[in-house]
């Protein structure tokens, strides 16, 4: 690849068209993208495609097995749970909780974390020291513990789960972005922008931020999967989305006692989590290898 001699001297933000071309050339990861698209469609269309109301109970049809079992029927393709609710519909609706929690939490955390990282890296000195100590303290806080405490304090709810995870997760972004900004600050084009009279806001928003976007995209993708698992763990422990809203984690918890007699109640929600998280992890891996191979530590 031939380097453009002007590239490092221009004060323009490097939008990295080359990186995006590389992205296209490598061939898209069809399977992960396919799985994610399918689950996004399921989440959006849940009311239309669900065979039944996910919260409707029918004690007469409790623990119906999936359709391929000889006692199963097409009325409940994946069987029913202990209250006779349709598993397939609950999994469809559950995807709304998992996907929204994953995406919203990561967006909140990355916006805040990136802002802290940019400011710390740009100003350096005391500002940096204070912000980084705060980041370290946050990073040593166990996410699940904090979310459990919050759930008990203010009661379990979707918003609390999102806030509790985001409050800890931002630190990771702050650390990584600050590291990148420190490297960028040494480069000529930043110095030139400052000499040319660009203020802090302009340097940060026009020069530093665009150059850390690749890293942000990779980190965001990789963390969506992690957040979905954490959210499911919280719902599993009873500190996540409160019933009767279907969430994959709490569905697994509900089926736990009946694993021996009705394995499908715990099994299918777990499979759904596995598919979605795997898809995000594979997509994240692919993005990292393509956009920025140096980021192997993310």
């Amino acid at each position: 690849m031939r380097a453009d001699p002007m590239e490092s001297a221009t004060a323009l933000p490097v939008a990295e068209p080359r990186a995006w071309r590389r992205l296209r050339d490598r061939g898209l990861p069809v399977i992960p993208l396919g799985i994610i698209t399918i689950f996004v469609l399921i989440a959006i269309l849940a009311p239309v495609i669900s065979p039944a109301d996910p919260e409707e109970q029918s004690l007469r049809s409790r623990f119906r097995p999936p359709v391929w079992d000889e006692r199963g029927s097409w009325q409940h393709p994946l069987g029913t749970d202990r209250l006779g609710r349709d598993m397939l519909s609950r999994i469809f609706y559950g995807s709304r909780v998992s996907l929204t929690a994953g995406v919203v939490t990561v967006l909140l955390a990355s916006a805040f974390g990136a802002a802290v990282g940019l400011v710390a890296g740009y100003y350096g000195g005391r500002v940096d020291a204070v912000l980084m100590r705060l980041t370290d303290a946050t990073m040593s806080f166990p996410v699940i513990l904090l979310a459990l405490i919050l759930a008990v304090t203010v009661g379990p709810s979707f918003a609390n789960v999102v806030v509790a995870i985001a409050v800890v997760l931002w630190a990771r972004y702050a650390r990584v972005i600050r590291g990148q900004v420190l490297t960028l600050m040494e480069l000529d084009f930043i110095a030139q922008a400052r000499i040319a009279g660009a203020g802090a806001w302009r340097v940060i928003s026009r020069h530093l931020l665009p150059n850390t976007l690749n890293t942000l995209v990779v980190l965001v993708t990789l963390q969506i999967g992690y957040v979905i698992i954490v959210e499911a763990s919280l719902s599993f422990l009873g500190a996540g989305i409160p019933p009767p809203t279907p969430a994959w984690g709490s569905m697994i918890a509900e089926g736990r006692e009946f694993v021996t007699s009705a394995w499908w109640v715990s099994f299918f929600p777990g499979l759904a989590i596995l598919l979605v998280v795997l898809a995000f992890n594979l997509l994240g891996d692919w993005l990292r290898d393509t956009l920025d191979p140096k980021l192997r530590q993310l």
């Binding site: 100590r133 166990p142 513990l145 459990l148 405490i149 694993v259 394995w263 989590i273 998280v277 795997l278």
Partner: protein, 306 residues
């Protein structure tokens, strides 16, 4: 070097101090513990008396400093639920958690090592891809689900291993495996990319030219240097293990810190919550400190670059 150690220790202490404030505030925010301790029939005077007895009527700042002062000496107060000193509970549970975390760490290392090295040596082949799939799978499976499935099949139907509690080495296998598999992906990836880099370096080529057997080149010369990034991230993996342990310990009925925290939170036992969070954070901080110092010894450039 001494300056580096001192400033690094100071950083850890500051982080812990910030954390203690957060924990203190959060623990107070979980609602009035007296509602849980006192019987329904308690009168206003009973409340006032209990509040004074437990020191809950003093200003928050004063409560905080007395809390920190005692915590430093290992006194975390008395558990509201168990009516026993929290330090005693911690001393009982902590070794169990540490043993489980260490065992899980060994499990993940024994997976990550061969997988990472094999993947690097056979880059781009099916071996590489299989190794990566095994690793990513562990990262994508919800630990509590793996735990339930293992309890049902390995412990329940096959009756090979105990389903929960501690009873000898066999009881470590299922929870340790569940916990360990979760972090294999990260370690394996670091090791793979580290190996790829090192295998391409001059000194490995030199070793090959000198006629060193390939197996020796890979497992001795290259692996030694590819290990450095893995060591630096050991602290982070350890922190992940400690956090994930809350879920795993709950499913396997493991008498560790994680379950103590879960019990503490569900009964608003705030001396216990404070103690568990601070102990966990202190362990993570110490591990990270140790890793950083070790790294500074291995790679002197770190001491000066910050």
């Amino acid at each position: 070097m001494i300056r580096f150690i001192l400033s690094r220790v100071f950083q850890s202490l500051v982080a812990l101090a910030i954390l203690s404030v957060v924990v203190f505030i959060l623990a107070r925010a979980t609602g009035d513990p007296l509602h849980l301790i006192l019987p329904m029939s308690a009168s206003e005077e009973d409340y006032a008396y209990a509040r004074r007895y437990l020191g809950l009527d003093r200003p928050y700042v004063e409560q905080y400093f007395s809390f920190v002062g005692k915590a430093v000496t290992g006194d975390f107060g008395t558990s509201l639920r168990a009516r026993r000193p929290v330090s005693e509970l911690i001393r009982e549970r902590l070794p169990n958690s540490l043993r489980l975390a260490l065992f899980a760490m060994c499990v993940s290392l024994s997976f990550a090592f061969p997988l990472g090295v094999l993947a690097a040596v056979n880059k781009g082949t099916w071996i590489d891809r299989t190794a990566q799939v095994i690793a990513v799978l562990g990262q994508s499976l919800p630990t509590f689900w793996v735990a339930i499935v293992l309890v049902e099949f390995v412990a329940g139907r096959l009756q090979w291993l105990p389903a929960g509690g501690i009873s000898g080495f066999a009881s470590y296998i299922l929870p340790g495996f569940t916990l360990g598999w979760f972090v294999v992906a990260g370690m394996m990836r670091l090791l793979r990319s580290g190996m790829l880099e090192v295998l391409d370096s001059e000194y490995v080529k030199l070793a090959r030219v000198k006629g060193v057997v390939e197996r020796r080149v890979v497992w001795l010369h290259a692996l030694k240097n590819a290990l450095i990034p893995v060591v630096t991230f050991a602290g982070i993996y350890f922190a992940i293990l400690v956090t994930t342990a809350i879920v795993v310990e709950t499913v396997f009925a493991w008498p560790g810190l994680g379950r103590l925290a879960y019990e503490g939170i569900s009964s608003r036992d705030f001396p216990v919550i404070q103690a568990v969070v601070l102990t966990t954070a202190a362990i993570v901080a110490v591990v990270n400190l140790g890793v950083d110092l070790l790294y500074a010894v291995i790679d002197p450039r770190i001491r000066h670059a910050r």
